[in-house]
């Protein structure tokens, strides 16, 4: 692990060296990105205010869901957002061969080669929103709540890492996989709404199959002490880490399953 961390550092320094000349575009990109998030959030805000409440979830509570989602995305994106682009270009050009002739495990190598620390902006945004949310709600935040929150971050991160990996796998086999990515990331937006507003089969889908609900809904519910446990009862709160971990593990397996089917390109 230290080896990959070290490689990550070397690659990141290199990346900085390369982008140094494009400093202004770097800053503009970050500003646009953050503006984007505020627009996103403003839309949800308007909607929630128009309906007053979504199944008993008020504006600030929905904001918490959104904040958790941003945090999960930041963790996944930190490791895999640039990775997905690199893999796509390299698999199409055949340059991916190169990774397979290096003395590295492809998955950690790709993650650390393509770290994207820009996502620290997301982390800041998420924490700011969480502070506003919990502050306005007057929620008591003690050690237990902080631990729950951190566990929620981990679950969200695991789910997002899994989603990214499910999007990367098919690239090895079909050389393109934008459709997969689009589906996974369209569904992700649904995790910004309280799960209980959806019909039952979607609730089940988003709990056990594509467990988007682990990203925000269950952690926030647990901290706020909400009672809309739905179909699964209270037990699901304890199962959340297990489900997230299992989802991520299956995604890792899927990644390697697809990688074995990598066919290179003719020359």
């Amino acid at each position: 692990m230290r080896y990959y961390l070290h490689l990550g550092w070397v690659y990141w320094k290199m990346h900085l060296k390369k982008t140094w000349m494009f400093k202004s575009s770097f800053i503009i990109n970050r500003v646009v990105q953050i503006l984007n998030y505020f627009v996103d959030f403003a839309l949800i805000w308007i909607m929630v205010n128009a309906f007053q409440a979504l199944n008993g979830w008020n504006t600030y509570e929905v904001m918490l869901l959104y904040a958790m989602n941003v945090m999960g995305y930041a963790i996944g994106g930190f490791f895999l957002d640039r990775t997905i682009l690199t893999v796509r270009t390299d698999v199409q050009s055949g340059a991916f061969d190169d990774v397979l002739t290096k003395p590295v495990s492809p998955l950690p190598y790709l993650c650390f080669q393509n770290l994207n620390p820009n996502f620290i902006a997301h982390v800041t945004l998420s924490i700011a929103l969480l502070c506003i949310g919990f502050g306005s709600l007057g929620t008591y935040i003690g050690i237990v709540e902080i631990l729950k929150l951190l566990l929620g971050f981990v679950c969200g991160g695991l789910v997002y890492v899994g989603l990214f990996l499910f999007a990367i796998g098919p690239i090895f086999v079909f050389r393109k996989a934008d459709s997969m990515r689009r589906v996974l990331f369209f569904l992700r937006e649904q995790s910004m709404y309280p799960l209980s507003v959806f019909p039952l089969f979607i609730q089940i889908l988003m709990t056990v199959i594509l467990p988007y609900a682990m990203i925000g809904y269950f952690p926030v519910q647990s901290i706020l002490g909400k009672q809309d446990y739905l179909f699964f009862g209270r037990a699901v709160l304890y199962l959340a880490p297990v489900i997230s971990l299992a989802f991520c593990a299956i995604a890792v397996w899927f990644f390697h399953f697809c990688l074995r089917r990598y066919k290179s390109t003719g020359s």
């Binding site: 490689l7 390369k18 340059a95 190169d98 397979l100 002739t101 003395p103 495990s105 020359s267």
Partner: protein, 310 residues
């Protein structure tokens, strides 16, 4: 104990049909019929001993690159088995990578925006090369491949020949006992080719590095490779020395006569083992006054051209 061994290795690619991203039943049906299997490598077997210098030849699409990708662990064979330095490359990829250096002449691994020293430093970390050995190797290669004058120039600004030299040095930084070189001289001028050839020969002679080299320029192989492996349409056609190849596929020399006052030249092909040159000259002399005679003995290129043409 061979350093590389292939036993009945085959590789079949499933060709992806062009209509793969459209749908509809008709396309589906057509697709099924036309989804072809390409047998890129068929039942290939050979052993390579440590320290050998192999020229790996075959026409375009013969399966050379595919074979090299399997030997270097990039691709799984469809059947058969490969070992390289005692490991199965595609199963023990990480361990195998330490034993091999790979250059694909048509691809670059260099960091385009930065000078070569940055890519070297990166590879030092990836291959965990001890600092002392790293310094020594960089120094040696910069000297041997004459890279000093562009050591600090961004790769983007280098010529093809300069870049290829950097690629070659990069693949050898970790002192691999085996080198796979897939068309490392593609697109280079005669002088650059010769320098690279000499470099490989020197490495092979000095440290006994096992080298497997593909090229479409027979001159690359004539003077370097002691053993030629020739494949065609994925199958083994010939495995042996250049001399053996010549004697097997006809060692034909050509004598070209120019006669005084005649615009046309006369070419006579003959096998030096069977007919003496003096007889041929005597015979030609009876046709007129010989102004000039040029004798060319067959080189591998002629023979390979003959083989490719069937």
């Amino acid at each position: 104990m061979p350093i590389i061994s292939l036993k009945n290795v085959s590789k079949t690619y499933k060709a992806q049909s062009k209509g793969a991203d459209r749908d509809g039943k008709l396309v589906e049906r057509v697709k099924k019929k036309s989804s072809r299997l390409i047998e890129a490598v068929k039942n290939l077997s050979f052993d390579i001993k440590q320290g050998e210098f192999i020229g790996f030849i075959g026409e375009n699409g013969a399966g050379k690159s595919t074979t090299i990708k399997m030997m270097s662990g990039i691709l799984y064979p469809s059947s058969g088995e490969i070992t390289c330095c005692g490991l199965v490359p595609y199963k023990k990829r990480r361990e195998n990578a330490m034993n091999i250096g790979v250059v694909f002449g048509q691809r670059s691994r260099l960091v385009w925006e930065l000078p070569m020293s940055d890519t070297f430093a990166l590879y030092k970390e990836i291959y965990r090369i001890p600092a002392e050995r790293y310094e020594r190797n960089v120094k040696t290669f910069v000297e041997l491949l004459e890279m000093g004058e562009f050591f600090t120039t961004p790769i983007r600004q280098l010529s093809l020949g300069q870049r290829m030299r950097v690629e070659i040095a990069l693949s050898m930084l970790h002192d691999p006992p085996v080198l796979f070189l897939d068309e490392p001289t593609i697109g280079l001028d005669v002088v650059a080719k010769k320098n690279i050839r000499d470099f490989f020969r020197e490495r092979n002679g000095r440290d006994g590095t096992t080298i497997i080299l593909t090229s479409h320029d027979m001159k690359d192989l004539d003077t370097t490779a002691k053993r030629l492996i020739l494949i065609t349409k994925g199958e083994m056609l010939f495995d042996g020395s250049a001399a053996a190849l010549k004697s097997r596929y006809g060692d034909e020399s050509v004598a070209e006569f120019t006669f005084a006052g005649a615009p046309d030249k006369l070419s006579v092909a003959f096998d030096p083992a069977k007919r003496k040159l003096s007889d041929i000259i005597a015979e030609a002399g009876s046709r007129g006054e010989i102004e000039n005679v040029e004798v060319k003995s067959a080189d591998i290129e002629d023979i390979v051209r003959k083989i490719y043409n069937g």
